[in-house]
Amino acid sequence: MSGLRRALWAELAHLARDRFDLALLTVLPLLCLVVMGGMLSGGSPKGLGVMIVDQDHSAASRGVIRAIEASDAVRVIGVGSDLAEAFAAVRQERAVAVVVLPSGLGDGRARAVPRAVEIFYQTAFLSTGVLASTRLQLAVAAELAAQATAQAGLGGVRLLRAPLPGVQVTLLGNPGASLEWYLGLLIGPAVLHLLIAVTTAASLGRELEDGSLAAWARRVGNPAAALVGRFLPHVALGMLWLCLWLLWLTLAQGYRFDGAITLVAVGGALLFVGTAAVSALLIALTGEIATSLSASVIYAGSALAYSGASLPLTGGILFARVWSSVLPLTHFVALEMDQAIGVTLATWAQQAAVLALVPLLAGGAALLVIRRQARRAA
């Protein structure tokens, strides 16, 4: 039996024997993905609370309130005239925004100081606040324009500026501007990346003796084949969960990659092989499971922040840009997002090649360290 097959069977036998370790690769990812999927399943957030401060009490202000109530992204939770009370609702997190309708909104007279409808929105939870603010701006502006047109027809007074040329914005790869699709593409792979980092480090860590893999390396003969065999079940299960996640997003939730989902899956395989190789390097270098797991949570647990998926790192500090380019998840996210918009095969191949460097470099370094430990111990 080859070293690879021996290591594979030994790992499978361990997983069959150790229900805790098996649950880490089966029950835990299932729970994490079901909960994350459940969280996103409602589609883009709806019913975000809005307080209205109506200082006009006119037909025009009531029209604006009705227009806001018609938007399903937001929900009017109260109409009053006290700004302090409205801001308290924001601090209590009952409301994410306050719309102030000024007095004189509906009288149609020109004034020295132009009146303004103010939309105060909380930005401590930025994504929610910006979403509410955008929807409110659209609803209020559309209603004011409609009222102005009606008044212009009646009184011949133009209330609004001349129409601007519209800017037609198209979002490639996410035509519905779905927060669910965007976060779904990020959360599933990030959760699995961290999970595989933990399970592979813990798996190889079982072979440590006095902080060294020397005895294990001598026993297996060919450490490279033994590493591949040992990590194969982890990578395969990681792939299985990733594919199920992507299929849920596409088949069940109806989103689609403009490129090829299979190319994303290939990228996922490279990500998990790279993750396993980094785990091998961490265990070989630290000689401790706990320290390796701590290092894993640092590099894989915050890899999403460094991937540039929310805030691009152009303009970021040098350390962040360099570290981001070293982390495997950065390149997987780029590869995956590229398939969302459908890039050329050559661009995919470039990203895949960069991703493939991780297992080659980290795995190569791990083998060098392990062989040196074995030589010293001999």
Partner: protein, 371 residues
């Protein structure tokens, strides 16, 4: 064992054991600077876009000049047609395409509909696309309004504008948004890892001593470490990083120890259920990312199905996020966050009671425990 001996023993073990000090102290210090680093520049900068100027008018040149001055985007290429621009997008040389169509200037001058400008952005990266989209639209609106003013269109008539005003994080900076929320997860997870590992290792080695006073002493020791970490973040780290902070210090002084005690109780409970310290880490580390999102900072809690909301509220970081962010960033009063506070207190009672059942009762039998 006396309360005091148990308290000192727990503190000293956390500070003297390499694995524990690495997680409970060094990681906390490290994350304070490591996590905010990719968000340090706060806003989108220099995102490359391609421009197709088919109008070649003073107006289209004005728009391009305005865009060149906008920090959010950089014009990476001006190409003659959409085919060339699309090729750049498909090879990821640019993140967006702006088309200024032929007849734009005359369309604006005559207020003719259909003179539309088109903008394509990479929507897979939704948050940045929305930000950049707004910035480009605003640059265009500025130039067009100036142009209209020059043409005496729209002058002399009253205007009702709609003005968005951000509250609390007034620059809408990413670091000021992400880090105060993720800091709660960092504080929770590092303390959970350390406490669960401490208890699990003591049980594995047969060193756990049962009894109410010993249990309370260890619990207080762990909560002290958590309280100091919370104080460090909300005091020094937020100040050094210039993150909005200190909105309601007296309330924070009350709530931080409650949070630390709740997380410590959960850590003790987990530590009483697993075989070893390594198993505690293996179980808890992968929950870190789901906990970040369940706290409701990126995806609002009200948009989650009820069963997910219910689950989220059983994790200490969820009430913590909805206590610490309002208290620190929004200057909320304790009364205004009473709902989240009640949940945290309920968790404290629940986790504390369960942990005591597992670890304090003298007759209780736990696998691997010294009874």
């Amino acid at each position: 064992m006396s309360f005091r001996r148990a308290f000192e023993g727990a503190l000293l073990e956390i500070l003297r054991t390499r694995d524990l000090v690495a997680v409970a102290v060094i990681s906390v210090l490290f994350y304070a600077f490591y996590y905010p680093a990719p968000y340090a520049h706060q806003v989108v900068e220099r995102l490359p876009i391609a421009v197709v100027d088919a109008d070649h008018s003073a107006l289209s040149r004005g728009i391009l000049q305005q865009l060149a001055a906008a920090p959010e985007v950089t014009i990476a290429a001006e190409v003659p047609d959409m085919a060339a621009a699309t090729a750049l997008a498909r090879t990821r040389k640019v993140e967006g395409i702006l088309l200024l169509p032929q007849g734009l200037a005359s369309g604006v001058a005559s207020a003719r509909p259909g003179a539309g400008i088109a903008l394509w952005l990479n929507g897979a990266y939704l948050l940045r696309a929305e930000g950049v989209g707004k910035s480009i639209a605003s640059a265009i609106a500025t130039v067009v309004q100036q142009r209209l003013a020059g043409l005496s269109l729209g002058q002399g008539v009253p205007q009702i504008s709609v003005i968005p005003r951000p509250l609390f994080n007034t620059t809408e900076g990413y670091r000021d948004y992400v880090f105060p929320a993720v800091a709660n997860v960092i504080l929770e997870q590092t303390l959970l890892f350390a406490v669960a590992r401490l208890i699990a290792e003591r049980r594995r080695k047969g060193l756990w001593v049962r009894g109410g006073r010993a249990f309370a002493g260890v619990w207080a020791g762990c909560a002290t470490i958590g309280t100091l970490a919370g104080g460090l973040y909300f005091g020094l780290v937020f100040w050094v990083q210039d993150i909005p902070h200190g909105g309601n210090l007296p309330a924070l002084a009350l709530v931080v120890p409650l949070f630390a005690a709740t997380v410590s109780a959960l850590g003790m409970l987990v530590g009483s259920l697993v075989r070893s310290g390594d198993d505690a880490l293996k179980l808890l580390i992968p929950t870190s990312i789901p906990f970040v999102f369940l706290s409701g900072f990126a995806w609002p809690l009200v948009a989650m199905p009820l069963w997910v909301q219910a689950l989220a509220w059983t994790i200490p970081v969820t009430p913590a996020t909805h206590l610490f962010v309002p208290l620190n960033q929004m200057g909320a009063s304790l009364g205004e966050v009473r709902g989240a506070l009640a949940v945290l207190v309920a968790q404290l009672a629940c986790f504390g009671g369960l942990a005591a059942l597992r670890l304090a009762r003298r007759g209780a039998i736990g696998r691997g425990a010294a009874v």
